[in-house]
């Protein structure tokens, strides 16, 4: 039964990632449900391991897109994982907190996602394996209107997807 559940989870994750049909993409499922991870957290080659152990996200200061020391060390881990698991690609999602206008926040989220992408490429990940997208303030994970929540929403999340180009 457990295996079945896992299989379903995995199926959806893969479908999301591999499917080129646009309608399949639903940002909330990727971000929010925890469905983005798959496999066992104890299996170092699983996306779930990447999500939970390596750390799939980095946080940013208000209106900034530069990477803190802490963020860089998380990204070092991400780069290593990605290089070790060449079957996977990644989409980097940039986000902003709600304290900004919609268009500007889209552009700001793009800056953040791009900062992560550039860093990973510098570390040796092939640029062709990485895509970026910004959600601006459309997909907060924390919903209070205080800095505690804002801090978690100003993020770039690396979402693993399987490479089925071959």
């Amino acid at each position: 039964m457990k295996i079945l559940t896992r299989a379903i989870l995995l199926t959806s994750a893969l479908a999301l990632a591999a499917c080129s049909s646009p309608d399949r993409f639903r940002g909330d499922e990727v971000n929010l449900g925890g469905a983005g991870g798959s496999g066992s957290a104890s299996d170092p080659t699983s996306p779930l391991y990447f999500q939970e152990t390596v750390g799939d996200r980095v946080l940013f200061a208000v209106d900034q897109s530069n990477l803190s020391y802490e963020a860089q060390s998380t990204l070092d881990g991400q780069a290593q994982w990605l290089m070790a698991n060449a079957d996977y690609n990644a989409i980097i999602e940039g986000h902003a907190d709600e304290q900004g206008t919609r268009e500007y926040n889209l552009a700001l989220g793009a800056r953040r996602a791009n900062a992560v992408q550039e860093y990973l490429v510098q570390q040796g990940v092939a640029a062709s394996r990485l895509k970026v997208v910004s959600y601006g303030k459309e997909r907060p994970i924390e919903i209070c209107s205080q800095e505690a929540c804002y801090a978690k929403n100003r993020r770039a999340v690396t979402v693993i997807s399987a490479d089925y180009n071959s």
């Binding site: 199926t11 499917c19 399949r24 496999g39 399987a162």
Partner: protein, 388 residues
């Protein structure tokens, strides 16, 4: 490696399942409700749009006879039948051109059940105001009044609501026999000195002080209107003499000369010595003029004027009767500046309303100086009213 293959295998199977199932459940790109709701056929739309313009004007719908605005209301009688000498206009719709008037159409496509004309009232009442109450407030603080007047009026005590129908107007207007029953004092409507937007709203409540604005310093009366002093004899000689005295002046054509003569004669005529039937008296004092100005100001409402009309200064003439009431028919615009003909018309209409409304019970002017104020030229300059 094995794991990878499992993942891959399960993934592919799952993916196929997903695609199949997904397609089963995924409707066509346009959601059902939308296609249902929003569509009217292009031809239909074309027809509608094409048809709408010109909304056929009521073909010169003949003006129904109107009783002249009279101080005496005649509410008790049944409405007087239309005077026979003025033919009763046929109601407009009978005229043929309107029947041709194209359909304004079903602009809205047939509505689905989901949509009602009046969405269920989720929203607070339309006049909802500030969302975030100032935190310091220990009691609810109203926004500053939306009404702007030269003299701020503090909000009335909560019990006395500004009346919907402004009773004071009724009293003013009353030529005697309008209802007497509203003796209850109505609070003057709250007014701010200027528009306070939500953004500027002070933490404390709106302007509380009702300091009177400074009245204009009494300017020593400059009697520009060369009237009374002139000896009566002068007019007789002057007009004739003038053209001669300035032979060089090329502008002295017949027209201007006549105008001058007329003006001078008029000036002479009004001098007290000659005017037997109207007491002229000395010129109005600055205070008297000022109170007239203030009286008109109170009714000059620029709130509904376009921004163009708010750039238009109009000069309006009015004749008053001896009891200080304006003769509505005498009110006319003599000149305007700063705006188009249209905006001058709006500005004039607002000025006219001000004069008629505030003059309805007669402006308070000294009777013995009637000749001085029988004809008044008022300049309505909205410069200060533009953005308050």
């Amino acid at each position: 490696m094995n794991t990878g293959q499992y993942i891959s295998g399960i993934g592919h199977v799952g993916l196929i399942a997903w695609l199949l199932l997904g397609n089963v459940f995924d409707p066509a790109p346009e959601p059902f409700e939308v296609t249902e709701v929003a569509v009217i056929s292009p031809e239909e739309y074309e027809r509608i749009v094409g048809a709408q313009q010109p909304p056929s004007p009521v073909t010169e719908a003949p003006q129904p006879p109107q009783p002249e605005a009279e101080p005496e209301p005649q509410p008790e009688q049944p409405r007087p039948p239309t005077p026979p000498e003025r033919p009763q206009p046929e109601p407009a719709p009978e005229t043929p051109p309107q029947d041709d008037s194209p359909d304004v159409s079903k602009v809205q496509p047939p509505e689905p059940a989901e949509v009602t004309d009046e969405p269920p009232q989720i929203a607070p009442p339309p006049q909802e105001e500030v969302v975030d109450a100032p935190k310091e407030a220990d009691r609810p603080q109203p926004r500053p009044s939306q009404r702007v007047a030269p003299e701020p009026v503090a909000p009335p005590p909560p019990e006395t609501k500004p009346d919907d129908v402004v009773r004071e107007e009724v009293r003013k207007d009353a030529a005697g026999d309008v209802k007497k029953d509203e003796s209850e004092a109505t609070a003057p409507e709250e007014a701010a000195k200027e528009i306070v937007t939500e953004a500027q709203e002070p933490p404390a409540r709106a302007p509380v002080t009702s300091l009177r604005p400074k009245t204009r310093p009494p300017v020593p009366e400059k009697v520009a209107e060369k009237p009374a002093e002139k000896p009566a004899a002068k007019p007789e000689t002057k007009p004739a003499a003038k053209p001669e005295e300035k032979p060089a002046a090329p502008s002295d054509d017949m027209r201007s000369a006549i105008e001058k003569a007329v003006a001078d004669a008029a000036a002479g005529a009004s001098s007290p010595a000659d005017t037997a039937d109207a007491p002229a008296g000395p010129p109005l004092t600055a205070g008297e003029k000022d109170s007239l100005r203030v009286a008109v100001q109170k009714c000059w409402n620029t709130g509904s004027l376009s921004s163009d009309a708010l750039r238009t200064t109009v000069v309006v003439e009015v004749r008053l009767s001896e009891d200080g009431k304006p003769d509505a028919g005498s009110i006319r615009m003599t000149s305007s500046s700063g705006g188009s003909a249209d905006s001058a018309r709006q500005a004039f209409e607002a000025a006219r309303r001000a004069i008629i409304r505030c003059g309805a019970s007669g402006f308070k002017l000294p009777k013995d100086k009637y000749a001085q104020w029988r004809d008044i030229e008022m300049t309505f300059n909205p410069e200060k009213m533009r953005i308050k």
